[in-house]
């Protein structure tokens, strides 16, 4: 019954963009209908998932009458999957409401309908990815998600940079799918069935097991955006409409994490090196992600790189849990996996909030370059408050949600220091994470300050204004969720414990609530929140009395400080940019000073993705040149292509 509900929900989401196709290209009705379907589907879906414990539905398999050639349709849901469904429902619904204000059909008659069709397809496909209990169905849902994602990213396909970033995404997602096809074929070979999660490949020799792990890690790592597989992510997120970025960053990256989480337990107890690889990849992604984020001028690219950082933190937690499995430490498993899952949910709350805020800024000021903004706090007070809260949450500051999950991961890492078989080498991750945390704080101080503080640097920023309720409403909801999870994390411990139990291949799973007392977080968070509320009240009543009109900032006696003289985001991170110049690998054009009276000179600097810019693109270009010779086969005649297919099928039959 519950499974049937979820299938209806997924189908509803998939079809939510269809009615819009039949309305006039400037009519808002189709869009409202689509949003309504999404919201209703999400509400039903959330209800099913949250009450899933009361109405159990362990591994229900749905058999339609006519079986398809590749086996029966099999869908199932366990508590781990349920945890992943929550953000899909939430962001899909909130994003489509946000779209009403951000991407109204009236203003986007050309691409609004395409966007909503693919939005529904992608959200529904992600639900099916989580539900799939058969590798063929998994791959089909996966491809629907990936391809509709492509059309979402290239919503504004008239712009060359959008097509360019879409193209990179397209290549990356195909490479990922190639790895996954290989992974599932191997899985079929070794387990003997297409059945998924849990699969039974226990007792495999080390070689094939390693191949399975690496293929899965690379395939899913592409989606999750682990460094160095992240090359598609920054430009893709930056060039998409903001609610699409929030769906990608807040939900689709989770699907990669979902896959990795399933892969690491395919063989029961994982080998130790799996955990080491995951922790290394996680720390590398976290560190490089935040370093690159810090250097960005485009605030959407900054947010995209910060997603890489957060995925890195999640992967570190997961790696700790995997090590806990291999070395038999239930505490590491509970804190590592619990922290990873909670951080993933938290990232699905604050990152969409920030992307929606970024959309609000673009809506108001029409630029993605934060150096031409400034002074928006007075012009967009609502967006400012929400972005400030989101920034504090993502910088893991108490009393907000990001802090809770980072605390769990840190604590798990601290626990590696003692016990019977302590592994203190893992703990060296802690100072690196601490540095990442401090850099994240710096990044988000830079983001909020450069956009919102001081005075507007351009006329566009000076004329900005708050967006309407359709855009602010979803952001407020996400912000409220950030505060709620941050102050009362105890609300989620039940669900988390169930999800951990579903993942752990042990008969008895560790309980998070038994290891860490979540009420202490509430005990500190509540005074902090009350204090903040008190401050807000005091400011409200006190400020009018003392603010003297016409008094500007103290300018140290300099008579004509200009708006352009304010400290910019680039100057804020100047020292760091210099220290990490080898990691940032920027493209810089220094002015040339020549002669006694040097003429006007200019300086330019931009920070493209170093891996894409210096490694992936040149290498791919070379490969492309080599493959040019294979063009002979590509005549363009459909008949010839059919002939190829015929020949290949014939050869395959002969081999068999």
């Amino acid at each position: 019954m519950n499974m049937l509900m979820l299938i209806i929900v997924a189908l509803g989401m998939i079809c939510s963009g269809v009615p819009g196709l039949f309305f006039h290209r400037r009519s808002a009705a189709g869009q409202r209908l689509g949003a309504a379907i999404n919201v209703a589907a999400a509400a039903v879906g959330m209800a099913v998932v949250l009450f899933h414990d009361i109405l159990p539905m362990a591994a229900e398999v749905w058999h339609p009458a006519g079986a398809l050639p590749m086996g029966k349709v099999a869908l199932s849901l366990d508590d781990l999957g349920a945890w992943f469904l929550l953000p899909i429902f939430l962001i899909s619904a909130l994003g489509s409401i946000y779209g009403l204000g951000y991407w109204p059909q009236r203003k986007h008659p050309a691409d609004g309908r395409k966007l909503r069709l693919c939005w529904g397809l992608m959200s529904g496909a992600m639900v099916l990815v989580v539900l799939a209990a058969n590798s063929i169905w998994f791959l089909m849902a996966w491809e629907i998600m990936a391809l509709s994602g492509y059309f979402l990213l290239t919503t504004e396909d008239g712009k060359p940079e959008v097509r360019q970033s879409g193209w990179v995404y397209f290549i990356a997602t195909h490479l990922a799918t190639l790895c996954l096809i290989a992974f599932f074929v191997l899985l079929r070979v070794y387990s003997g069935s297409f059945r998924l999660w849990p699969t039974e490949v226990a007792g495999l020799p080390a070689g094939p097991l390693a191949a399975l792990f690496l293929l899965g890690l690379i395939g899913f790592g592409f989606k999750a955006g682990l460094v160095p597989l992240h090359v598609w992510l920054p430009a893709g997120h930056a060039n998409a409409p903001s609610h699409v970025s929030s769906l990608f960053s807040g939900v689709m990256l989770n699907m990669g994490i979902y896959g990795i989480m399933r892969v690491v337990v395919i063989a029961g107890r994982p080998p130790i090196w799996w955990g080491v690889v995951l922790i290394s990849a996680g720390v590398l992604s976290a560190f490089l992600g935040i370093t690159w984020a810090l250097a960005q001028r485009d605030f959407k690219r900054l947010l995209a790189y910060s997603s890489i950082e957060n995925i890195g933190i999640i992967t570190t937690g997961l790696g700790l849990a995997v090590l806990g499995l291999s070395m038999n430490h239930p505490i590491w498993v509970a804190l590592g996996l619990g922290g990873a899952l909670l951080h993933m949910l938290n990232h699905s709350l604050f990152k969409p909030l920030l992307f929606m805020g970024a959309g609000g800024i673009m809506h108001g000021a029409n630029t993605r370059d934060m150096e031409s903004l400034g002074g928006l706090a007075a012009r967009m007070p609502a967006v400012f408050r929400l972005m400030l809260l989101g920034s504090a949450a993502i910088a893991a500051l108490p009393p907000l949600n990001g802090f809770v999950s980072e605390l769990l991961i840190y604590l798990g890492l601290f626990y590696t220091l003692h016990g019977s078989t302590a592994a203190p080498w893992i703990a060296w991750v802690i100072p690196v994470l601490a540095m990442v945390g401090a850099m994240a704080l710096m990044t988000f101080v830079k983001l909020t300050a450069t956009c919102f503080a001081g005075q507007p640097r351009t006329a566009a920023a000076a004329g900005a204004h708050d967006p309407d309720a359709a855009m602010l409403g979803p952001m407020m909801l996400l912000a409220a969720a950030c505060v709620l999870v941050g102050a009362f994390p105890v609300l989620l411990t039940g669900l988390l414990d169930h999800a951990i139990a579903a993942w752990v291949p042990w008969p008895q799973s560790p309980s998070l609530a038994g290891i860490f007392n979540f009420w202490w977080i509430t005990a500190v968070a509540v005074p902090l929140l009350i204090g903040t509320a008190g401050i807000a009240w005091w400011i409200h009543h006190w400020r009018r009395g003392v603010r003297e009109k016409g008094v500007g900032t103290w300018d140290c006696g300099y008579a004509a400080p200009g708006r352009r003289m304010q400290y910019s985001g680039s100057s804020l991170m100047q020292t760091m940019a210099w220290m990490f110049r080898r990691i940032l690998w920027r493209r810089e054009k220094l002015p040339e000073v020549r002669g006694i009276f040097p003429p006007a000179a200019d300086y330019a600097c931009n920070t493209p993705d170093p891996l894409l810019d210096r490694v992936a693109e040149p290498v791919l270009k070379k490969i492309g040149n080599i493959l040019e010779s294979a063009r002979i086969l590509q005549s363009g005649a459909a008949q010839l292509y059919m002939l190829y297919i015929l020949l290949i099928v014939l050869i395959l039959l002969l081999i068999k």
Binding site: A377, M435, A438, F452, G454, T532, R543, Y567, S571, L572
Partner: protein
């Protein structure tokens, strides 16, 4: 009953003691310079005077500017309730409080730097930039110190590990690790509380501006709150350092409160001496100093692995 007294003593000391430490530092510096210096309680008088004053607020600023000093006070106060000032466990102590402690200090930094940038002044922007940049290097140093302490005490809770750090036998490997951690922590303390050789608390001039320049536009009670918060941070970190260094015995409560208070005075005198005897580092060498602090505690951690 004993715990109740300890808790109230801790709260009272946490609230009242911080400005005194600044007074002692200033007195020490005056002594080194051959001056008589301001009275010991001068910072208290300054705070009282500031509380009565009116406030001038730049028209560029928003509510963040007003909120920041108060958020700093609240977050530092809460962090202070997690560090035992005396030989008894702190009022707030739980497994994992050390992370809460570090991030509460970060919360204060987040708001202070935002408020500085809120004024739109490039001077204050410079201070904010330096503050967040140096934090990227002092934070790992702090966490490496925490690693040493967690490894030695076997528990990730501030009160438990700080109190058990006192039991280490002098001359053992563990004590060597603690000495290295203490050096590292002292550098972190100097950086976090904006003292020489990282920052000069006496001036907001261009070359040194970090903390003082960030609060350049603050006046009246807002400035008072900032001074109070930063002096409280000094007290907390000094108490943290003392627990790493001093052999305390929780059984002798009366004696050890005395030792701790004497220790706080000593730390203030040492800071004053450092400020008098050293020149401020060039800004570009500050990260080098902090990396050195990381290395000290990193080697300390290696010793006890």
């Amino acid at each position: 009953m004993k715990t109740l007294i300890a808790i109230s003593l801790q709260v009272v000391l946490l609230a009242l003691l911080p400005p005194l430490l600044l007074g002692i530092i200033n007195k020490t510096k005056a002594w080194f310079a051959g001056r008589r210096g301001p009275p010991l309680l001068q910072v208290y008088y300054d705070l009282l005077r500031l509380m009565k004053k009116n406030v001038v607020i730049s028209s560029t600023t928003t509510w963040v500017f007003l909120a920041a000093p108060l958020v700093s006070v609240i977050s530092v106060l809460l962090a202070g309730l997690m560090v035992p000032l005396g030989p008894m466990a702190a009022p707030i102590h739980f497994t994992g409080d050390l992370i809460m402690f570090a991030y509460l200090l970060a919360l204060g930094r987040f708001f202070t730097t935002l408020a500085a940038l809120d004024t739109g002044s490039s001077f204050e922007g410079m201070g904010a930039a330096r503050e967040v940049t140096f934090a990227c290097f002092s934070e790992p140093a702090l966490f490496l110190v925490l690693l040493v302490l967690v490894k030695l005490s076997g528990t990730p809770s501030l009160s438990a590990m700080l109190l058990s750090a006192s039991h280490v036998r002098i001359g053992s490997t563990a004590s060597a690790a603690l000495v290295l951690a203490a050096v590292s922590l002292f550098v972190v303390l100097l950086a976090e509380t904006s003292r020489i050789p990282v920052d000069d608390p006496n001036t907001h001039l261009e070359l040194t501006m970090i903390h003082e320049v960030m609060v350049l536009d603050n006046s009246g009670p807002l400035l008072g709150a900032q001074i109070y918060a930063s002096s409280m941070k000094l007290l907390i970190l000094a108490a943290f350092l003392l627990h790493v260094v001093l052999p305390l015995n929780p059984a002798l409560v009366g004696r050890d409160w005395g030792i701790m208070l004497a220790g706080l005075v000593a730390v203030a005198v040492i800071i004053g001496a450092v400020e008098s005897l050293m020149a401020r580092l060039q800004l570009r060498f500050v990260p080098t100093l902090l990396v050195a602090a990381c290395l000290f505690s990193g080697f300390g951690f290696l010793l006890i692995l």
